[in-house]
Symmetry: C2
């Protein structure tokens, strides 16, 4: 009966069909009351709270390096490796259980080609050679004397979301489908600083970057990128880069496909032309319908994905929900994200969480009044170059469905009558 | 001899005495060459790099939740607890070994009054009561339906840097002296949302916030702050808040002294006046020379500290170094940081790492050409309210030396002839 005692409030207007509300609901205090009015009633609070056992005895001692709660043990990466190996495959970030823009280091996705090398940093070296005036070798200690720079940047595997090339929607959730994406604050030395010191021969147009893993992961990178915003990253979210992310140093190429951000970096060779390594010929090319492949597709184009609601998270009672997710572009900042609850028939602007940074993920949020009936949830990102995330149909019409890499089309979650959420094509 | 082959470059001008160079050295590619020219020569690279053992065998398998390298095991918190206890005391962030603005969750500082409770989130409740129209009880699950908000915010213990009240400079480094400060991205529900739903009685001017630890940590907070930017934080750097930081939920009061950001939050009571809890009367007040105490000093004022060079990190050969550190203010954004190498006789502007966010730490960097002789390094923060971090002498002249809390004076690292770095007063 408490509901009747509340002052009547005007109903928030729909910003798009099937219950998507104006994003400014989240930006004004008063509107929040509208939101909460639509949430299920809370328990009455006539009784004092019970005194729990953990309030009656001293708690656990301090630890030098902290860990998550044992009750949060589902907040973990899912691992899949190629049969017969333990270290060739992927682990994926559980975005349906996370919020914010930072991926904590323990949950950053991994893509390894032959496991995680156990590198002694004192023995590790970084060689810069090829078309340079002075080949140079750096220890980690030497690198740490150089001026540093930090940037919050996403890394996305070129193979992320590849399941959407399939004819039928894979009956999986956001983690296995879209979990090869993470975002961290990386700190390190600009590669340009080291290349200037080595002295770049005018004939050099490319670099080869090689990892110290036993797969010898190697990619060619245009010199312009190397002289631009490329970093030799030494720190990840403040602490030394994790072994699974390249300890003691990795290449960071903001916006470029994941594998080019070579982990365990040991060698940069300046060259006239791309080296045509195994990793850029037998893999990481986009096969088209005519049997030809697109090579050297470096930049991850604008994309977004709704992380909640998403498959595996069942809806509760009808009422107000927050639709939230991540948007990113390798070409710059996210300019806007639109959300639809009717499969793209109508769209409303989502609220973007500040700070909105170039080549970083942007968290978006949109209020949604679910009426308990069917809905198809979609998000569509636009970056500050004006590029708009395409529909799945358009992407496949343009490129074919054999590409395997760089899928950035719009993804759809279907909400059924009753609240089950499934991956659908729409 | 390689040096002679280099084109002659103009010497960078000093921006302040004793070798502090212009911050723009770090912002321009060409200047970087000047920097590197001042660094020790690199090893010649005539030989190919050795092939290390980790390149010859498959690496380690994937893991659901990652950990740091065993070689980085010194990157850990230092723990001190009151004799006879294991959970009453502090652990401190190793800022001398970190870089960037984010503190990873495993290294966020801790201050507990009776250990870390092992809270089952399904049994945990948040009660909102007192001067409200409708007392409410929230489960974690209910809270997670609400609109969320993220912000990157520092938390600093009111007792951080208290050693600088001592007559003689403690012979310790940045971690034990200044390590009760960390910065993370926090995501949660605005407290205002919940208070609006409960309906605030016009007589209410304060809230009491109580934790579910066995110390019953409790603080009074002005209602204006609670209705402002206060969050019920559920996520820390993307993942569920760590037990040592309040799992399953904590209060976040951006800019306010650490203990008010009550961990393991179980109860918010709206009151007419402050509750005068043990934690705001017997502790967390600033004792002055006349024997009276300042109470309810909530906001952490503008402050900065140089994290490198710092005691424990011995300088190498003379030449170019980066002076780097952190600056923050509970009143807003950092407007500028100045650096001195001559004990405050002259100052130069440091470069500020973007993004510069309110109530978050800002990383600053300044190039410094160390001539091998004695130097006294200092940093001085100014926030966007115009407030300037005071000298230690001025702070103590104004407030006395018995305060124990809120020390935000300028700290000094002395570099001796030969490169040893020590804590000094200057």
């Amino acid at each position: 009966m408490r509901k009747n005692k509340r002052p009547r409030r005007s109903e928030p207007e729909q910003a798009a069909g099937n219950g998507v509300l104006d994003r400014r609901l989240f930006l004004t205090g008063s509107a929040v009351a509208i939101a909460s009015a639509a949430l299920p009633d809370k328990a009455r609070a006539a009784e004092p709270l019970p005194v729990q056992p953990w309030m009656k005895t001293p708690g656990a001692p301090f630890t030098p390096y902290g860990q998550p709660s044992k009750y949060a043990n589902k907040v973990a990466r899912v691992v899949s490796s190629i049969p017969g190996t333990t270290g060739t495959g992927t682990s994926r970030t559980p975005h349906h259980l996370l919020d914010g823009m930072i991926t904590p280091n323990g949950l950053h996705f991994e893509r390894h080609h032959n496991g995680v090398p156990d590198i002694n940093p004192e023995a590790h070296r970084l060689l810069i050679h090829g078309l340079v005036n002075r080949p140079l070798v750096f220890t980690l200690e030497a690198l740490m004397r150089y001026p540093m720079e930090s940037r919050i940047a996403f890394i996305e595997c070129a193979g992320n979301s590849a399941l959407l090339y399939q004819k039928e929607p894979a009956q999986l959730g956001v983690q296995p489908i879209h979990g090869l994406l993470s975002c961290a604050e990386w700190t390190g030395v600009r590669l340009a600083t080291l290349l200037e010191e080595a002295g770049v021969d005018p004939r050099a147009q490319w670099i080869l970057a090689e990892g110290a893993d036993s797969a010898g992961m190697s990619r060619s990178v245009p010199l312009a990128k190397a002289m631009g915003d490329a970093l030799i990253a030494i720190y990840q979210n403040g602490e030394p880069v994790r072994p699974s992310n390249g300890y003691p140093m990795r290449l960071l190429l903001p916006g470029y496909e994941g594998n080019m951000n070579v982990k365990w970096l040991r060698r940069i060779k300046l060259t006239e032309a791309p080296t045509m390594t195994k990793d850029e010929t037998s893999k990481y090319t986009i096969l088209q319908n005519d049997g030809k492949s697109l090579q050297f597709c470096f930049t991850q184009e604008a994309k977004s994905v709704i992380t909640r609601p998403s498959p595996g998270l069942t809806m509760g009672a009808p009422g107000l929900y927050e639709i939230t997710g991540l948007a990113w572009s390798g070409y710059g900042k996210i300019a806007k994200v639109e959300v639809s609850a009717d499969g793209g028939a109508s769209w409303a602007l989502a609220a973007l969480q500040e700070p909105v940074l170039p080549m970083a993920v942007t968290r978006f949020r949109s209020p949604w009044r679910w009426d308990g009936g069917p809905a198809t949830l979609q998000s569509r990102a636009t970056d500050d170059s004006g590029y708009v995330q395409p529909s799945r149909a358009k992407l496949i019409a343009d490129r074919g469905a054999r590409g395997n890499y760089h899928f950035n089309g719009i993804a759809s979650w279907g909400v059924a009558q009753g609240g089950e959420v499934k991956h659908v094509y729409a």
